[in-house]
């Protein structure tokens, strides 16, 4: 709970109720929108919301969706997303969203109602041990048991959510605390007692890093979501640094958009379904410059085969991310923006310029790998290839302000491979937790933040069904979110693993009894569109863009297509598999590889 230094000095009797204090604190924290769902324990806050007009409330249809919407809002704006739910089931329904936000470092403050303080622990109606349940899935949480601590707790929650490595924070609010008079404490009067993560990198480390960079013959930038979290300025400095070095750069799934995909130095995403050239370059490099990525197992593959010859620089704001999976040579703890600034300054101070000679043969090697065209696919006349649908979606929306979210599965990987991002904060996907059902509510949150933008959830039919109730929310608030469903009638990613690792036995991965998505859209009062042939793809996409309404596109795609390239579990980067036409049939996977996820 809240540390009680500098206890509020307010001697006069407070004139606000707890609920009003909550709202005032949110306003002061810059909250414009709350995604929420009411219930008994939070009715006092809803009453206060009703009587003001500074904060807008979006009524979702499931509390999980409220958190994902807040995540979409946060990731597309750089602000803290805000959620309000009731006690008990309202709070427990947020757990998946909170875990998702924790894994992907998304700043979210989630206010949960709680039974009155005197009933806590009595198994009261709709009581749940919310701080207990959410302790491992939040960055921090609070249970407010004294009105005097209310304002402080909310301000601290925002501070913790957005500082250092961002993440979700829960503030549990017993109903009596919301109804009692409570003193208001302004944001500036609150200073957190302990939590002030450092932002400035150590200069000694910067010099060591630049030393390594300047001598590299086979360098690579490996950049992740940390740079996006650090903000557009960090991405701009990254772009300058990468250009001034002339080195190749690969991005993680979370990092897409941190560096322009259309630039020649970008060699594609890396990892399990990354490009051949990115993974090979990671394997063979001599200096790896990791900025804001965390050596996730989806990226490293088998650890003892991971980039065996390289010296590794790792920039991260979170010391616990450093030396966790991979031992590094130059750890740099700091905010990505400040660190990139320092790296760029040190690089220039030493008069370093584009290293044409030193890295010439390295680039030659990369270009040779690029000739594999590892993302290629063949679009025939009859069946729509999912990659083609995404490629067309990209081409036809290039000129617009477009935000993409995804669900989880094959379509997510194809979206990462075939939709290209030149700007940060336009790509929102559940990377760490891999939450099916994330994309649609996240898109809703993005659309709330950017009413004029084109917001598209590239979805799989199975994932989309997990939060489809949010259609109703979209209609209520006239959110023209586009659900672009790549309908392969399978949990495609599950089917792919069953094909590769479980003898083609498709246990429970076929999506039987799917709804008619066009009629479903209509039932909600939205627009439904369908394409079943390659020749229809463009028209459907154009129509989807044209109608200023909520749209579901049922893109009926090849059921048998698999995601390539693929580094199977238990393999190293240079054991990457290309699509079968070129690489021959796949050998059976090792027992050891099979137990991996």
């Amino acid at each position: 709970m809240t540390a009680a230094t500098a206890a509020p000095t307010a001697v006069e009797t407070p004139t606000m109720t707890g609920s009003q204090v909550v709202l005032q604190a949110l306003v002061e924290q810059g909250v414009e929108v709350i995604f929420g769902y009411p219930g008994g324990a939070v009715l006092p806050i809803y009453d206060a919301i009703f009587q003001q007009d500074r904060i807008r409330h979006i009524l979702v249809r499931h509390e999980q969706a409220a958190v994902h919407a807040a995540e979409g809002y946060a990731r597309s704006t750089g602000k803290v997303g805000c959620v309000l739910v009731t006690s008990g089931p309202g709070a427990t329904n947020t757990v998946t969203g909170l875990t998702d936000a924790l894994m992907d470092s998304v700043p979210v403050v989630c206010l949960t109602g709680q039974v009155p303080t005197h009933m806590i622990g009595n198994d009261a109606f709709q009581e749940a041990d919310t701080v207990g349940i959410t302790r491992p899935c939040t960055k921090h949480n609070y249970l407010v048991t004294d009105p005097a601590n209310l304002a402080r707790s909310i301000h601290e929650a925002f501070h913790v959510a957005r500082s250092g490595r961002p993440g979700p924070v829960v503030v549990d609010l017993p109903k009596d605390i919301l109804m009692k008079p409570a003193p208001y404490l302004a944001k500036d009067a609150v200073r957190h007692r302990t939590y002030h993560p450092p932002r400035e990198p150590e200069m000694r480390r910067i010099e060591e890093a630049v030393d390594l960079m300047a001598r590299a013959e086979r360098p690579i930038f490996y950049v992740g979501g940390g740079v996006i979290n650090a903000g557009p300025k960090a991405c701009a400095i990254l772009t300058e640094l990468v250009r001034e070095t002339g080195y190749p750069i690969t991005l993680t799934l979370m990092g897409l958009g941190a560096y322009p995909a259309s630039d020649a130095q970008f060699i594609g995403m890396l990892g399990m379904h990354g490009t051949y050239e990115a993974n090979m370059a990671m394997h063979d490099c001599d200096v790896m410059i990791n900025i804001g990525a965390r050596f996730d197992d989806r990226v490293t593959g088998r650890l003892d085969g991971f980039s065996p010859q390289s010296k590794k620089i790792h920039v991260d704001i979170d010391p616990s991310s450093i030396n966790k999976n991979v031992a590094v040579d130059v750890p740099v703890i700091g905010d990505a923006e400040r660190t990139l600034e320092a790296l760029l300054a040190a690089w220039r101070r030493r008069g370093n310029t584009v290293a044409t000679g030193r890295t010439k043969s390295w680039w030659g090697q990369i270009q040779e790998w690029q000739t594999k065209k590892s993302l290629r696919f063949r679009q025939g006349k009859d069946v729509i290839k999912p990659q083609y649908a995404i490629q067309r979606l990209y081409e036809l929306t290039r000129e617009r302000d477009v935000y993409i979210t995804t669900e989880v599965g094959q379509h997510q990987m194809w979206a990462a491979q075939h939709f290209h991002f030149d700007k940060p904060m336009h790509w929102m996907t559940s990377g760490g937790l891999g939450t099916m059902g994330y994309g649609f509510p996240a898109a809703m949150g993005v659309q709330v933040a950017h009413p004029e933008a084109l917001v598209i959830d590239i979805a799989g039919e199975a994932s989309w069904l997990m939060n489809m109730q949010e259609m109703s929310t979209c209609i209520q608030y006239r959110l023209p979110v586009k659900s672009f469903i790549l309908n392969n009638s399978y949990m495609g990613m599950v089917r792919q693993w069953q094909d590769f690792f479980h003898g083609n036995r498709h246990a429970e991965s076929y999506m039987d009894s799917l709804p008619d998505f066009v009629k479903l859209a209509e039932a909600f009062g939205a627009v439904g569109l369908r394409a079943t042939k390659p020749s229809e793809v463009d028209d459907v996409i154009k129509e989807m863009i044209k109608v200023e309404k909520t749209v579901i596109v049922d893109m009926v795609v090849d059921r048998t297509e698999n995601v390539y390239p693929m580094i199977p579990g238990g393999a190293a980067h240079n054991e990457i598999k290309l699509s079968p036409e070129e690489d021959g049939p796949h050998e059976a996977i090792s027992e050891e590889g099979m137990v991996l996820v």
Partner: protein, 190 residues
């Protein structure tokens, strides 16, 4: 897609040789607030790290500060990870690894009970004397001894005494000399 149980913080794909495990004594200064111990314990249980001993008590009531002493074993990577994760917890002021930072003193308090006839009790008293344990309770058939010392000393006392019941407080530790456990430096608000 079942989740295999990771043996340690090593990622799932690692089949590299595990480095040898080390025992470390770590002290943590925290805000004395509800849930803080649960956060510390959850960090260990959630990631499969070992807690060999854990003690906690308030040490500064005016400022609501508690001190936690943790003895843990793990590979050097795991120990580093534990310290970083502890430091990351919001109510934590500072983390100190006494094992790394230099000479320190560790003590543990134990209460042990012996039951038996006169002969047995006399023998126990002799061992206790020799080990500098204190007799704190006696009846015609039983003794309770209090013994303070390093964990190893208590281990051998128990080994010699073969008591019927043992209660141990866990390790408390402090550095030797002038080295102090610092509170977290107050960085300026960004």
């Amino acid at each position: 897609m079942a989740q295999p149980v990771p043996q340690s913080s090593q990622a799932l794909f690692s089949d590299a040789e595990q480095a040898a495990e080390e025992r470390h004594t770590i002290v943590v200064l925290v805000d004395n607030e509800p849930g803080v111990l649960a956060r510390v314990i959850g960090l260990f249980s959630g990631r499969g790290y070992n807690i060999d001993s854990l003690t906690v008590a308030e040490i500064d009531a005016a400022r609501a500060l508690s001190r936690i002493n943790i003895v843990t074993t793990g590979t050097p990577l795991v120990i580093e990870q534990i310290k970083n994760l502890l430091a990351k917890l919001v109510p934590v002021h500072s983390v100190q690894d006494l094992t790394v930072e230099g000479p320190h003193i560790e003590r543990e308090l134990s209460l042990v009970k012996v039951i038996g006839d006169r002969e047995r009790l006399v023998a126990a008293l002799r061992i206790a004397d020799f080990m500098h344990a204190r007799l704190v309770d006696s009846t015609p058939e039983s003794f309770v001894f209090e013994m303070t010392g390093t964990s190893e000393e208590i281990d051998s006392f128990i080994h010699l005494l073969e008591p019927v019941e043992v209660s141990r407080a866990g390790v408390v530790a402090i550095s030797r000399g002038r080295l102090l456990l610092k509170e977290r430096e107050q960085a300026p608000e960004p």
